[in-house]
């Protein structure tokens, strides 16, 4: 019987297999590295219905985070302020500015402003804001330098490994509760001294306040 296929086709399956393996390996590695929260979530900066600038309000004006996000120390959910909170100042400041028309309308009629949520935990995760804020974890640890953002973007991946990095070593991230909303606060301007003070004071605070940074599965996956 004469050969139907030329001889070089003998190597075809092996070559195909090798190519598929290589390409598959590259794709898998790429996905494993890049289709992760660190790359897919960080930098998420959706367009909001009102061009609210944290840089002006929290940065330049120096408003404390808790003035608007007032439930953050009491509730598991850090609330967004109602339009009536905005009107506390804006019934005098920029009171006819067209950019604030949506806010004025919401405060007058009660119709809520549809903000786009940026920092979202999956439904299978339980996260309680008040526990973290009242125990010395600053806003900046998870939300980055919000006070320098004109539009809020997600600064940290908020993945499970991100949470565990702190939960496994709370002393490296904890700070005095009075400094929680001072996003640019440091122990010292000298980096080495700051590290040393964080280590020493952090350990002391974790011990004194009996901080139990839970690492069991059911702490978050309830």
């Amino acid at each position: 019987m004469s050969a139907i296929f030329p001889k070089w086709t003998n190597w075809l399956p092996l070559a195909l297999g090798a190519v598929v393996a290589v390409v598959g390996g590259v794709v898998t590695a790429g996905v494993a590295a890049y289709v992760t929260p660190r790359h897919t979530r960080v930098g998420y900066e959706p367009v909001q219905p009102v061009p609210f600038s944290h840089k002006i309000h929290a940065g330049q004006m120096g408003l404390d985070c808790r003035y608007c996000h007032n439930g953050v120390e009491k509730s598991s959910f850090a609330n967004l302020p109602g339009a009536s909170t905005c009107m506390n100042c804006h019934n005098q400041v920029l009171k006819d500015d067209p950019l604030l028309a949506v806010v004025r309308d919401s405060a007058a009629t009660g119709k809520p402003i549809a903000w786009v949520q940026i920092h979202k935990m999956p439904d299978y995760v339980y996260f309680n804001h008040s526990v973290h804020v009242t125990r010395g974890i600053s806003c900046v640890e998870c939300h980055g330098r919000i006070d320098q953002m004109d539009e809020v973007s997600q600064a940290k991946p908020l993945s499970m490994s991100f949470c565990l990095d702190c939960h496994r070593d709370p002393a490296a991230y904890i700070r005095p509760t009075a400094q929680v909303t001072h996003l640019d606060w440091q122990w010292s301007t000298n980096a080495a001294a700051a590290d040393a003070m964080q280590a020493a004071n952090g350990a002391k605070m974790v011990h004194d306040w009996k901080v139990e940074s839970l690492q069991s599965c059911s702490a978050c996956h309830r």
Binding site: Y44, F77, N79, G82, S106, A107, P112, W115
Partner: protein
């Protein structure tokens, strides 16, 4: 090595504890059940959906999901956050809010504090501020929260079965009101359930004044009103004053040193059980050095009888005779009571009488809701002879209620004198006495209007249906058993646009003030500050009525001679879970094991071991019960401790239009019910078929471990630490191969949670099981899975029967033949309840 666990177990001495007769006989089935942690078939879902089948049918969906993720579904969906426009005061999103309210019951209310998240009520707790309640609730209050979210509840206004707009329904009501105003309410009849609401009473008076020809009738299948009727009659007949205001008795079990229950399940199925349990337990604290003594005479085996110190089981027809015997003994001069002559029953009664006589005003005799009027009057007579009235039982005046009975309404309907029948709540087509043939009788009214929570059996026979609101969605008020006024405050707007009962009545009355809030506010009167305080506290202080103190000197009722026990006697009782049937669609209630029988998702024909032997029936046999020409079919369940020759039938099952959960569960005992809870002359016939009953009582047995540890008062005085001393062979402590790092951390950890339960106080009511299910959102699994041992409750109440070991004789050792012959000594049992947490 000498492993103590491998030694043969020493022979059993002293009291034995057993869960069921199968366990006691150590039958092959029981052993089989015990060996496997889960019985056959438990790890497979045998309802047709195997894992392989699931993968097969879902494969296309999985593919689509995968494509969706990589393709169009890559982009993160935008989630919106919508804060308030106008922020309310004192409200933090994510934090719970608590409001005081109350659950209205037939003859009172349970004061509650309801927890709400984001405007949705999620949990019901007792109101600890209410004086003397200690924040207690009962099973029904805990389970009632689920009914708010029941998808089968009535959501629409309906006319002749077709949905109409709410405006059309309300227009009909105002039309009805005008027609009634024109002829003074001629032909208008109301059939209501019972309620203590002062606002409802005020509106009823308005209607009666505006429409003097309108007639009022009240019907409750479980009639708690008998306590009030009996106490009122006792006063009126015994103090020559026919016009004395009606009174209701309030029992102070905490003050009683001796309590005698005449068929009264005050720890289980009587109304106001949350108060009774708490007061009873307050009188039984061994640490304080005093414990009351409880004597129970009953036919069923109830929670009260289970925990009794002395129990006498009598068939229902004998109760009145025993009560009269007790009274007669107490009338005789002290010292003349002899306990030695006569049979065991007379000796028991005599001992009881001696104890009562020794304690005089600190004694208390209570009669049960199912008992006939004579027994109640005898109880009042005995209490008055002892001087207990005013001490352990106080009589509080209540407003007069002139409603007629459902039998009288049936007469009016049959006579054709009812044009419009308005039904408030209830479910008469399902639970009216069987001899009234209510489904047909109700239709004899030209128009039937109903305010109902479900589109149930009665819905099929109504012309206009109005959806009712739940008490957690309603404004209202109620009066608790001691006369205190409590508010019913809504926690959420009516979820499906239902109509409040007060608004319904106000519209029929043609009132301009139809908002339920305004009606309740008007009834309350008072200043704004007082009203706000009333709503905040959840009760009105000092509104309890003062007891009256009559002196009794009249005649005692004559007890009719007992009926010949030629046939079986029947006792109808309020089910511990579905009440009179109203909770049939509540999955938590259906799955809650009955506190005594531990049966779920069913009712059964209860009878004693001896009667079962005589009739030749065993657990699960389907039998036909015939009473006065009516028949019902149900499965047999042998109940240790029950009176002989008696059948126990739970009311509230066998519903045909309850909703997806309750439909077709159990059998309908109302088919035999004609208004009296005790009946004689029943016959039983085997059908030859069997029926699977899902009971949890075999699950998790002790198997020789010292779990239940019990001692009586004398032993406790000698060995206060008897429970610690009663440990069995303990396993040797072996060091773990893997030391858990968290165990080290625990030593310095901040919080350690623990929960301890006073087992002397636990009566086994099961409220904690429903509360745990409510708090933790535990799902139900259904009858099939419960029968495979897979019930999901996080805690359970193990109920162990135990009989007096002194009565056991060697010759009485049971034989393990097919018919499970047992000895007589196990017929008189007690039960010990052991709550087990976080199983």
């Amino acid at each position: 090595m000498n492993n103590p666990l491998n030694q043969p177990t020493p022979p059993v001495t002293g009291r034995r504890y057993w869960r069921s007769l199968d366990e006691l006989a150590d039958t092959a089935e029981f052993k089989d059940w015990l060996q496997r942690e889960f019985p056959a078939g438990a790890s497979e879902l045998e309802d047709g959906v195997t894992r392989r089948h699931f993968m097969r049918i879902m494969s296309a969906s999985f593919l689509l999901a995968g494509v969706g993720i990589m393709g169009a579904g890559c982009r993160r969906p935008e989630a919106k956050l919508e804060p308030f426009g106008k922020q309310p005061e004192n409200y933090t999103f994510g934090e719970a809010q608590y409001f005081a309210t109350a659950m209205p019951t037939r003859d009172g209310a349970v004061p509650l504090v309801a927890k709400s998240y984001e405007g949705r009520p999620v949990k019901v707790e007792g109101n600890a501020e209410f004086p003397g309640s200690n924040g207690s609730t009962d099973r029904y209050a805990q389970a009632s929260i689920l009914d708010v979210y029941d998808p089968d509840r009535s959501k629409r206004f309906k006319h002749n079965g077709d949905t109409v707009t709410p405006e059309a329904g309300l227009a009909f009501l105002s039309q009805l009101s005008k027609a009634a105003a024109a002829n003074g309410g001629q032909g208008l009849a109301f059939l209501t359930d019972r309620s203590t609401s002062p606002s409802r009473r005020r509106l009823q008076l308005v209607i009666s004044t505006k429409f003097p020809n309108a007639k009022w009738f009240a019907y409750e299948p479980i009639d708690s009103d008998i306590h009030q009727r009996a106490a009122t009659q006792a006063i009126r007949s015994l103090i020559e004053t026919r016009t004395a205001s009606p009174v209701r008795p309030v029992y102070h079990f905490d003050k009683a040193k001796v309590i005698v229950s005449l068929g009264s399940d005050f720890l289980g199925s009587e109304d106001d059980v949350h108060n009774h349990i708490r007061r009873y337990v307050q009188g039984r604290k061994p640490e304080t050095g005093a414990m009351s003594r409880l004597y129970v005479i009953e036919s069923l085996f109830t929670l009260t009888g289970a925990g009794a110190d002395h129990r006498l089981r009598v068939s229902p027809s004998q109760m009145a005779i025993r009560a009269r015997a007790l009274y007669d003994l107490l009338q005789s001069p002290s010292g003349a009571i002899k306990t030695s002559n006569g049979d065991a029953v007379s000796a028991w009664i005599a001992e009881c009488a001696l104890d009562l006589a020794a304690n005089k005003e600190n004694a208390l005799v209570v009669a049960g809701q199912s008992q006939p009027l004579e027994v109640h009057l005898l109880a009042h007579a005995i209490n008055s002879v002892l001087g207990a009235i005013g001490n352990t039982v106080t009589l509080h005046p209540v407003p007069r209620s002139e409603a007629g009975t459902i039998q009288q309404l049936a007469e009016s309907l049959n006579a054709g004198s009812v044009n419009t029948l308005v039904i408030l709540g209830g479910n008469p087509v399902y639970n009216a006495p069987a001899d009234l043939n209510w489904a047909v009788t109700q239709r004899k009214a030209k128009t039937v209007v109903r305010l109902g929570y479900y589109e149930d059996e009665t819905f099929a026979q109504t012309d206009w249906h109005f959806p009712a609101t739940h008490y957690l969605e309603s404004w209202g008020d109620a009066i608790t058993s001691d006369g205190t006024l409590v508010p019913v405050q809504p926690l959420i707007q009516p979820l499906f646009g239902g109509l409040n009962e007060l608004e319904f009545l106000a519209r029929i009355a043609g009132e301009t003030q139809t908002s339920a809030h305004d009606i309740v506010r008007t009834t309350f009167g008072g200043t704004e500050a007082a009203w706000k305080k009333f709503l905040f506290n959840g009760y009105q202080p000092d509104s309890a009525t003062a007891p009256v103190n009559p002196s009794f000197n009249g005649t005692v009722p004559v007890v009719p001679p007992p009926l010949a026990a030629a046939n079986l006697e029947v006792i109808f009782y309020r089910d511990a879970k579905v009440d009179d049937g109203r909770f049939a669609n509540n999955g938590w209630m259906q799955e809650l094991p009955d506190p005594v029988t531990k049966i779920t998702w069913d009712n059964a024909v209860l009878l004693s071991r001896k009667t079962a032997r005589e009739l030749g029936v065993a657990n699960g046999d389907l039998v036909e019960i015939t009473l006065n020409g009516r028949t019902v079919t149900g499965p047999i369940w042998t109940q240790p401790g029950m009176a002989d020759n008696t059948l126990g039938l739970a009311l509230g099952y066998g519903r045909t239009a309850a909703g997806r959960v309750g439909k077709g569960v159990g059998f309908n005992a109302y088919a035999l019910f004609t208004g009296s809870y005790l009946a004689t002359g029943a016959t039983l016939k085997k059908t030859g078929e069997t029926y699977v009953i899902a009971t949890t009582q075999h699950h998790w047995s002790m198997e020789g471990r010292p779990i239940v540890r019990e001692a009586n008062w004398d032993e406790f005085k000698k060995h206060p630490k008897f429970a610690e001393e009663m440990h069995g062979v303990e396993a040797p402590i072996v060091k773990s191969l893997y030391p858990n790092p968290l165990d080290e951390a625990k030593k310095t950890a901040l919080h350690q949670w623990g929960m301890s339960i006073d087992l002397t106080a636990c009566v086994g009511c099961g409220t904690c099981v429903v509360a745990c299910q409510s708090e933790n959102n535990i799902p139900i699994v259904g009858k099939d899975q419960v029968s495979r041992g897979r019930e999901m409750h996080w805690m359970r109440i193990d109920r162990y029967y135990t009989a007096d070991p002194a009565k056991e004789t060697l010759a009485d050792s049971f034989q393990k033949d097919d018919e499970q012959q047992f000895a007589e000594w196990i017929d008189d049992v007690q039960a010990v309840n052991q709550p087990m947490l976080c199983q």
